[in-house]
């Protein structure tokens, strides 16, 4: 097992990893920019290294700085958290070339899953159900029109290198194809330097269902059920729950086994998430995230596992601490993402936290790097905390979330907490009857004022 690991991240996820390491008796090294010298992850780690100026490009995304920080501290492994360098195959290769261990999958797995077209091809060959669409990139408008007729409108045109909602356009009919096709290409070019696009059937009211998988890199893998992350705003998840309100045990077993078998066959290492759109009882593969996800705590709650601990164990060459038959769902968990943003426009609001009080009590987990007097710097993500509740069933989890949100105090900046208070009053949320468009529609009608 490692003696010392470096966490190439900041904020709540850096704390999450430091906590797991400390419970395992592993020393932690926090890296930070000059803007984060007073950040909680810096205070909590055993050792700290300032790696650069505020700009992420020169600090948290600087591969030389992070490798050098390992060299000067003697850290043997790097946990990337999520975002930043977590899905950068080049980084993983450099880490390995320096004799260090990357806590996550191989560079090759990241490369394959990072390209949407090869990811889809690979998954289709592994027996994972995919959305009907173009086989690879679509070179011109004529071909785009032909595919539109073949799979039926509406269709969505996506930039191959895209992500985060950029480079995606819907064509509701053949008339809209030309404009959507050209816009998606232009956005792909300007945002990702690649104008290749592909086309898929556009599902009208799907849910976002994602399957948590975990592999040991030696051909064994398990699934840890699904998370329903349909409540999104501009493709950003805001509210996630497990188990999914619409998924039966039979469906879970079937799609879960398909996913676990697929990642076992490619010798996948560590945590991964296979994302699907789910409509009318069918799953359609969207993409695979080759990292720990922001919303991993809901899975940890219902399965009673520590996914970061497992990641570290497997990276050190140990076996997983659980097998498929050990993994049973216990109760229901919900996570809400608390951002420093002002409603209704969700404008980022960095600033000084005058008072922070985390909710507590049975079944409540608050993962946050806030503290009284902390100043949220303007350079990074606006996520300032995740509130996770766990209860015996969904109605109890909703009641617990309502109670915990009432205890939470974040003074000094605007947050997205009022959104969740409002959502909990809604009948559709209470019954679990929502899809990936629900929140956008609801925001349009309810948050104007």
């Amino acid at each position: 097992m490692f003696d010392k690991i470096l966490i190439a991240n900041r904020g709540e996820i850096a704390l999450r990893v430091i906590r797991a390491a400390r419970e395992m008796g592993i020393h932690s090294v926090a890296v930070h920019s000059t803007a984060d010298a007073d950040a909680m992850h810096v205070r909590m780690a055993d050792e700290t290294v300032c790696i650069g100026p505020p700009s992420s490009i020169d600090s948290y995304l600087s591969i030389p700085a992070i490798i050098a920080a390992c060299e000067v501290t003697g850290a043997q492994a790097i946990h990337p958290g999520y975002g930043f360098l977590s899905e950068n195959a080049t980084f993983v290769q450099i880490v390995e070339d320096h004799g260090l261990t990357f806590i996550g999958p191989t560079a090759e797995h990241i490369r394959v899953m990072g390209d949407k077209i090869t990811a889809k091809d690979t998954m289709r060959k592994l027996g994972v159900p995919c959305v009907p669409g173009s086989e690879g990139g679509v070179p011109n408008l004529a071909e785009a029109r032909r595919i539109g007729e073949e799979i039926g409108y509406p269709v969505i045109i996506k930039a191959t290198a895209g992500g985060g909602g950029k480079g995606m356009k819907v064509a509701a009919s053949a008339q809209e194809m030309e404009r959507a096709f050209q816009t998606a290409r232009a956005e792909g070019k300007s945002n990702f330097g690649n104008d290749e696009v592909y086309i898929e059937k556009y599902l009208t009211t799907p849910r976002h269902i994602e399957i948590q998988v975990f592999g040991d890199g030696k051909g064994r893998a398990v699934h840890l059920g699904e998370r329903d992350c349909s409540l999104q705003r501009r493709h950003q998840k805001v509210f996630e729950e497990a188990p999914g309100p619409s998924i039966s045990q039979e469906e879970r077993d079937r799609i879960g086994k398909t996913c676990a078998d697929a990642v076992a066959r490619i010798n996948y290492t560590g945590a991964g998430t296979i994302e699907f759109l789910y409509e009318n009882g069918e799953f359609y593969f969207i993409e695979m995230n080759t990292r720990l996800q922001v919303e991993h705590p809901v899975t940890e709650a219902v399965f009673g596992v520590d996914l970061v601990r497992e990641q570290i164990r497997v990276a050190a060459g140990l076996d997983m601490e659980f097998q498929q038959e050990d993994l049973k769902i216990n109760g229901h968990a919900i996570e809400v993402r608390i951002n420093a943003e002002k409603l209704p426009e969700f404008a980022p609001r960095p600033g000084r936290i005058t008072q922070f009080h985390a909710p507590g009590g049975l079944g409540v987990r608050m993962d946050s790097a806030l503290y009284d007097g902390y100043t949220i710097p303007p350079y990074y993500d606006s996520l300032i905390g995740k509130l996770i509740v766990h209860a015996p069933d969904r109605p109890a989890a909703l009641a617990r979330l309502n109670r915990a949100l009432g205890e939470l105090i974040v003074d000094g900046v605007d947050t997205t907490v009022p959104l969740f208070h409002a959502l909990l009053q809604n009948e559709d949320i209470q019954s679990g009857d929502y899809n990936i468009h629900w929140l956008e529609h609801w925001l349009e009608t309810n948050l104007r004022d």
Binding site: C50, G52, E71
Partner: protein
């Protein structure tokens, strides 16, 4: 810390019955004057600490340490919340621990700070002469030292000409981004 010492010395001296009864009083006054003089010396020369041992005779000595705290720098941030600090095991970066006391060399107007995290080499190779020494005049662009990061040797040039007043790093030591390396004026 040795701060307890002067007190015990005074006590010991007062209990010396075989000496001139005037002696303790006189010595005491002398000592106070001596310490006052030291304090003035400290201020005059802007020193931070001064330690003197005077031997009057066997078993009779005066050990004085006069020191002063620097004017606290204006605080830019609120004091850290005590809770996480207490909960976390003690530990700081190998490099950030060094310049904690006294004035921060990084804020010195002549400070040259590290542009990267890495390992410092003050000479081109083991046994070679140092790139620069205290008192050297350097021109803008002269190599001051090397920082190794990711097996790459990065020459750190002088950002401006001047005289090397202080070298704040050791050969083979680790530095983080922004750490003060030298003072050139």
């Amino acid at each position: 810390m040795p701060y307890k010492q002067p007190k015990s010395h005074r006590a010991a001296r007062a209990r010396k019955p075989f000496e001139d009864p005037e002696m303790p009083k006189k010595t005491h006054d002398d000592d106070v004057a001596f310490i006052k003089a030291l304090a003035e010396l400290l201020n005059e020369h802007e020193l931070t600490e001064l330690q003197v041992k005077r031997d009057y005779g066997e078993d009779d000595s005066l050990n004085v340490r006069v020191s002063r705290r620097n004017d606290p720098a204006p605080q830019q941030f609120l004091a850290p919340a005590p809770m996480p600090q207490a909960a976390a095991p003690a530990g700081t970066a190998p490099s950030s621990a060094a310049p904690a006391q006294g004035e921060d060399p990084a804020s010195h107007p002549g400070a040259v700070t590290s542009p990267m995290v890495g390992t410092v080499y003050t000479q081109a190779e083991p046994g070679a002469p140092s790139f620069v020494s205290v008192g050297d005049d350097v021109a803008e662009g002269d190599t001051l030292l090397i920082i190794e990061a990711m097996k790459t040797m990065n020459h750190i040039p002088a950002p401006r000409g001047g005289t090397v007043k202080r070298i704040l790093v050791e050969d083979g030591g680790a530095v983080e981004y922004g750490a003060p390396l030298m003072i050139i004026e």
